[in-house]
């Protein structure tokens, strides 16, 4: 009797697992037939993977049922991937909100060539593995183009998959070099080396200082990426790096050692290629050490004036290279900030601006390439690849942005100085 029990339990367990898999398979099948139904006339499938086309064949009955309601106009399915839970959630949420805002605006004003955009965002917890899962989930949903991932590591992992599927990918904020390794991937933000290079050149050309100290986060890809390029470029510039001190994610509250070293080495300028939370601590701690060099940062410093309990007078004279400042005076930024604040009750950061631009870049490229909702993913990607290099976008993060085939944006970083508690262009 006992043997039967075991056999039955084995069979039941495997049946359970099988049911789990088939359950998902079926739902994906019907999902793809939904998206497939936007093109009832021809047999192009929206999703590139063969399983879904196969699923469609078996689900022709479904197709006929759902085919009627979406014959006109069509919708483009735009997916987004980024962290909406966990430590990096603030970036993911900014991208999610801003993309949604842009999509709503576009839809309200008639969509892309009359096609509405449907936007769906999936959480990746800032984990490369989960990011691939999120991407696959969106693919099952019928995504045709991807805005993401938000963070560099995840972007690299997802880019591998989009390249396999030949799906168009535009990352708003994945700044490491490998994010746009493949020709189907583009980005809106500057690459890390690009920022390091631009900072070094700016300091050198404007002869701001000759002795420079750097404090950077060695456990952060963004920060160490900028630092490395900055240090490499420094050799060609008329200044000298006299001290380069690192901290890590585990020790980012006390910077007195790094500051003391910078002070002792006689640096006139401290370069901070880091995010604003740590930078605000550095500024406060420098003032207690009576150390007042010029502080120079990158786009990560944007937002420092909004840090709670931070005496903004300490940030007086801080310079930063950033593509976006929430208190800029141009019409586009003002409208965006107002709309974002109204909808989400928060001041948008640079990630939000990048995402907003990403959606508009997709819109511009779609219009240029004459994308229609019934194109399959791969054909759409081929068309977008060409169109991306032909568009010029006046966005939040730059005027007259263009892209080249490598996926890098061409835009000028703006140098901003904090004076009187606001960012002023230099």
């Amino acid at each position: 009797m006992k043997k039967y029990n075991k056999i039955i339990s084995t069979v039941l367990a495997s049946a359970m697992v099988a049911a789990l898999f088939t359950g998902c398979g079926n739902s994906a099948g019907s999902g793809s037939s939904d998206s497939g139904s936007t093109a009832p006339a021809d047999n192009t499938a929206d999703t590139p993977s063969e399983d879904n086309t196969a699923a469609e064949d078996t689900n022709t009955a479904d197709n006929a049922d759902t085919g009627a309601d979406t014959a006109a106009g069509g919708t483009i399915k735009l997916g987004g991937v980024g962290p909406t839970t966990g430590g990096a959630a603030v970036y993911g949420l900014a991208v999610q909100n801003a993309s949604q805002l842009a999509v709503d605006e576009i839809n309200a004003s008639g969509g892309i060539n009359g096609m509405q955009i449907e936007f769906k965002f999936e959480d990746d917890e800032c984990d490369a593995e989960k990011s691939v899962n999120a991407y696959n989930t969106l693919k099952d949903w019928g995504m045709q183009m991807l805005v993401g991932s938000v963070t560099s590591g995840c972007s690299v992992a997802v880019a591998e998959k989009t390249a396999e599927d030949n799906m168009f990918q535009l990352t708003p904020s994945g700044s490491s070099v490998d994010c746009v390794k493949y020709d189907n991937a583009f980005r809106v933000c500057f690459s890390d080396p690009n920022q390091g290079m631009a900072s070094a050149k700016y300091i050198g050309e404007n002869a701001i200082a000759s002795q420079i100290a750097v404090i950077y986060d060695s456990s952060d890809i963004y920060s160490s990426g900028i630092y490395e390029k900055f240090a490499a470029e420094a050799e060609n510039q008329p200044f000298e790096i006299v001290s380069a001190e690192a901290f890590t994610a585990d020790s980012k509250t006390d910077f007195s050692v790094q500051l003391q070293k910078a002070k002792d080495s006689g640096a006139e300028l401290v370069f901070l290629p880091i995010y604003y939370t740590e930078a605000s601590l550095i500024l406060s701690q420098a003032s207690t050490l009576d150390y007042a060099p010029i502080f120079f940062g990158c786009d990560g410093l944007d937002g420092i004036l909004n840090v709670e309990n931070f005496d903004t007078s300490l940030a007086e004279g801080v310079m930063l290279l950033t593509p976006f400042a929430a208190d800029a005076e141009d019409e586009l930024t003002k409208n965006f900030v107002a709309a974002y604040k109204e909808k989400y009750g928060d001041t948008p950061n640079q990630f939000a601006a990048d995402a907003y631009d990403a959606v508009y870049a997709i819109k511009a490229a779609c219009e240029k390439a004459g994308i229609t909702a019934d194109m399959d993913v791969s054909a759409m990607c081929e068309a977008m690849k060409g169109a991306m290099t032909e568009i010029t976008l006046d966005g939040l993060t730059g005027v007259g942005m263009t892209w080249d085939a490598s996926g890098e944006p061409n835009k000028e970083p703006k140098a901003v100085k904090i004076s009187g508690g606001v960012y002023t262009a230099m």
Partner: protein, 371 residues
């Protein structure tokens, strides 16, 4: 059916082992069938290799926790060591030997490096027991992760360059490339992992662990778990057997790490994937599946990996619901009342099978006795 069994005259444990292999193979065949038939979503296809990885991790940790009876919280550290060793090898040798051979060597290398770390860490750590051991393994896991985060290795025509500071101090020539770039880890590892390889590795790990458990060495290991003093008094070399279990467990985790590295093109040692969060996650698989119960670990690893993905429909509430479901499952499985209730149901409705309670409950009870 029962006749053939008695004819073969297999022992109870052998039969139990074969059921485990059979379970894995049946699931594998079903999945292959579903893929061939086109009934598998891309999400599920993407999850197949991670499932294999987590199954291997759960099974290997069960060796330390269930069989050896020591609580280890540094399992992700071994996975990390294996992952980086394997990925490093693959990155260096890419193109200079056939892909399959390179991957095989990477797997072996990953196992060896993780096993070595297991021994190195085991020597001081296994002098402790219980909670003290758990905390020290936790610390070692973090050390491995942090070491990897400051390691810079590059290669140019002069050979390899090392640094613990930054990639500039590697002083690479023009033709050089950075292989391990500190916190940025290794990018561009070839994508060699597949579900078939994953399942093969699971079967091998199961084979190793189940045979170890039923061997002379395995019984020695379990005797240490059950009564250390008695084991010592009959001349069992406690350090040796503890180290054996600990390093085998680490080596299998290392193999899982290599698979992980060859499944994603980017490998970074973040708290998320190689920190103590991950170690605890693996421990959760083991505890939910039943301490000492290999088959249970497999099933719980599968369920807990799939669950957050299947809950994506709930969007913002996903992680909350996941936690609640986890609590509910733990209670349903392991609270004494729930076990009692399940017994009662079984007696009322399936009284014919009363004799066979299923070995999972028994082994679990055994495991609990130890703790």
């Amino acid at each position: 059916m029962s006749k053939t069994y008695s004819k073969l005259n297999l022992s109870k444990t052998t039969k139990s082992n074969f059921i485990t292999y059979l379970l894995v193979i049946i699931v594998y065949l079903i999945v292959q069938f579903l893929i061939a038939g086109g009934h598998m979503s891309s999400l599920m296809k993407g999850l197949l290799v991670p499932l294999c990885i987590y199954i291997m991790l759960a099974v290997s940790l069960n060796l330390t926790v269930g069989i050896l009876g020591e609580l280890s919280l540094g399992h992700a550290g071994f996975m990390c060591a294996g992952a980086f060793a394997g990925a490093f090898f693959s990155k260096c040798m890419q193109g200079s030997m056939p892909d399959m051979l390179r991957f095989l060597i990477a797997l072996i290398l990953g196992a060896a490096v993780a096993g070595l770390f297991g021994i190195l860490i085991g020597i001081p750590v296994l002098r402790l027991k219980g909670d003290y051991l758990a905390i020290v393994t936790l610390a070692f896991g973090e050390i491995i992760k942090n070491l990897v985060n400051v390691l810079y290795i590059g290669r140019d025509s002069d050979g390899f360059h090392f640094s613990m500071k930054d990639s500039i101090s590697l002083r690479l020539k023009e033709d050089g490339e950075i292989i391990i770039n500190g916190a940025q880890g290794i990018t561009g590892t070839p994508h060699d992992a597949s579900f078939t390889i994953g399942v093969l590795l699971i079967l091998i790990s199961l084979f190793v662990i189940q045979n170890l458990v039923n061997s002379r060495d395995g019984r020695a290991i379990m005797s240490i778990r059950d009564n250390r003093i008695a084991a010592e008094s009959i001349g069992i070399n406690i350090t040796k057997y503890k180290l054996m279990a600990f390093s085998i467990s680490a080596a299998i985790a290392g193999v899982a790490g290599v698979l992980y590295a060859h499944n994603l093109s980017t490998l970074t040692a973040l708290p998320k994937n190689f920190g103590y969060n991950m170690s605890i996650m693996i421990l959760v698989y083991v505890v939910l599946g039943g301490i000492g119960n290999i088959r249970g670990s497999i099933i719980s690893a599968v369920i807990l990996t799939l669950l957050p993905e299947l809950l994506r429909g709930l969007s913002d509430y996903r992680m909350l619901i996941y936690a609640i479901v986890l609590i509910a499952m733990m209670l349903l499985n392991w609270s004494p009342k729930a076990i009692e209730w399940k017994e009662r149901i079984r007696e009322t409705y399936f009284s014919g099978w009363k004799s066979g309670k299923g070995d999972s409950a028994k082994t679990a009870a055994k495991g609990k006795g130890v703790r």
